[in-house]
């Protein structure tokens, strides 16, 4: 299990224990984490699962694919060159056992 923390703008934090191979988007949607939508079902088509990864957890994450790169240019809240990722492309156990992300104010 990996520990995933979703930090919200109001200071609230959702902390989830996530099975290996499960994406941040799926974990968030399944558990009702506010602000993560996942409208396209994890196909990197919609950019509604945008998160800002906290800097100390960036190392070891999988590289940004061409699909993800294009969608990150279309996020509702501004992209952060270093920290922005799509939650559907980051999976527990693939580069981290623990991760903390900030949830953007808007996704659409």
């Amino acid at each position: 299990m990996a520990k995933v923390s979703f930090h919200h703008n109001d200071g609230n934090v959702d902390v989830l224990e996530v099975d290996p191979g499960t994406s941040l988007m799926r974990a968030a949607v399944t558990n009702g984490v506010a602000g993560i939508v996942g409208e396209c079902g994890g196909q990197a088509m919609c950019a509604t699962c945008h998160v800002y990864v906290r800097p100390e957890y960036l190392d070891g994450l999988p590289e940004i694919s061409e699909d993800e790169e294009e969608m990150l240019e279309c996020t509702a809240d501004p992209r952060d060159e270093d920290r922005s990722r799509l939650g559907c492309q980051i999976k527990a156990g693939e580069g981290f056992d623990e991760i903390e992300v900030d949830v953007p104010a808007s996704q659409i």
């Binding site: 949607v29 009702g32 996942g38 079902g41 196909q43 240019e73």
Partner: protein
């Protein structure tokens, strides 16, 4: 048409909706719940789903869900907590059996009834079914619901040869997934190219070759004539053993997947006397010819700004964008006009091929290629009357996103620019989106 279209509404004339009933808890219905609350609606919401399962996403069912390496899990559309947090009365495993328009109530299959001030039909579509001889044999599946997907997935572990009827999106997504599992896959398609209804001929033909290269035995111009049974399963009427095509060929089939399109679920609307023509007829605000009833998503036939014609689309984008629009129509909170004008876009994942479409292509559009099809990364630009109408991309997400920006802004480019790789399409699209 059974009645004149309703006139555009005016905020002051509308009663404040207090009791909204949504029939259908798919992508459209659930997004509408979300959007109504986001728009500030504080009245009651009842959402009725005929499946017993909690609302889930359908698109992965024909793709990731069919992979061999894991126990598949459906992806919920929202968590259970969403429904309690938003004070939504979610009814599962129950159908609406009739609408009483005069009395503003719906009757349910559990013999209860619910009154509404606004009713929304988000009833979706049902799979078209085959009626050739042998269609009732065991081992012949459709693929739409989670129950369908679970049955198919369970069956895939035990079969060698699969016959797919219909080379549309669902059939080909499934065919590619089955090939990835090492199964023998035959696809029978009556038309002379795959996905003929949705894709330009050049892209359709490219996909035909790509599937042959994947090892799919794709048979074009060859429909299904009948199924024959075998004795492998002790079920009534027997189990499918082979598919016989319209040209008389016989293909062994341990299982059959039927993907021959869908029929919009309009039966409730028809019973209630609402206008129906290839879907429930709505205006550009998603309202039917009854001013208290709306329809959206797969079941709705709407005046499409981009297609310049009445259209019915089956896609996530169509369902969710129309839901956001419908919420504003119901609550009269449109700030950018009541006409729905969102650009349609689509995607399909077939093995390693990712098809993305922006706009709506017609078979007779003038087409221009950008990039080299032999590399498996290219786009087809479709022009109609000298204007860019649609862009189809394979493994070329930058072109797709640029096309969405250009088409949404209704900006044009020339066929020469489209074909010219020196022309910076992405930068051009961003400038267009920024209003330059």
């Amino acid at each position: 048409m059974t009645a004149a279209p309703s006139t555009p509404s005016n905020a002051q004339d509308q009663p404040n909706p207090q009791n909204i009933v949504i029939v259908g808890n798919g992508q459209a219905g659930i997004q509408l719940v979300d959007s109504l609350r986001k728009e500030g609606y504080a009245g009651t919401i009842t959402v009725i789903g005929e499946e017993t399962h909690f609302p889930y996403q359908r698109p992965p069912l024909s793709k990731d869900f069919m992979a061999a390496d894991k126990e598949p899990k459906p992806l919920p559309l929202r968590a259970e907590k969403f429904f309690t947090d938003n004070d939504v009365d979610s009814r599962l495993g129950v159908q609406v059996t009739s609408i009483d328009r005069a009395g503003h109530t719906v009757e349910l299959s559990d013999e209860s009834s619910i009154s509404y001030t606004t009713l929304v039909l988000a009833t979706g579509a049902a799979n078209r079914e085959l009626n050739v001889p042998g269609s009732d044999l065991q081992g012949i599946y459709g693929l739409r619901t989670l129950a369908d997907a679970e049955a198919v997935h369970a069956r895939l572990d035990t079969v060698r040869s699969v016959v797919v009827i219909g080379a549309g999106f669902i059939g080909l997504e499934f065919a590619a997934a089955a090939r990835k599992r090492g199964l023998d896959v035959t696809v029978l398609e009556y038309a002379d190219r795959p996905m003929a209804r949705a894709l330009s001929p050049v892209m359709g033909n490219w996909f035909a070759q790509a599937h042959l290269n994947m090892g799919v035995d794709l048979r074009l111009g060859e429909g299904i004539a009948s199924f024959t049974g075998g004795g492998s399963v002790d079920s009534e009427g027997g189990h499918v053993a082979a598919a016989v095509s319209t040209t008389g060929e016989t293909y062994p089939a341990d299982m059959v997947l039927v993907g021959i399109g869908v029929i919009p679920r309009t039966e409730l609307a028809e019973q209630a006397g609402l206008a129906v023509s290839n879907g429930i007829t709505v205006d550009s605000a998603m309202r039917t010819d009854d001013e208290d009833i709306y329809a959206l998503g797969d079941c709705a036939n709407y005046p499409s700004h981009h297609a310049e014609a009445r259209t019915r689309l089956e896609s996530v984008q169509n369902a969710t964008d129309q839901a956001r629009h419908t919420a504003k129509s119901i609550l009269d909170t449109h700030d950018a006009g009541r006409d729905y004008t969102e650009l349609p876009w689509f995607w399909s994942t077939q093995g390693d091929l990712r098809l993305q479409i922006a706009g709506i292509a017609h078979p007779d559009d003038e087409t221009v290629l950008r990039g080299n099809p032999d590399n498996g990364k290219f786009s087809v630009f479709c022009f109609r009357n000298g204007r860019l109408a649609a862009v189809e991309s394979v493994n070329q997400p930058a072109d797709h996103m640029a096309a969405r920006r250009i088409l949404a802004q209704e900006r044009n480019l020339t066929p020469e620019q489209a074909a010219d790789l020196e022309f910076d399409f992405k930068a051009y699209s961003k400038a267009a989106a920024a209003g330059v």
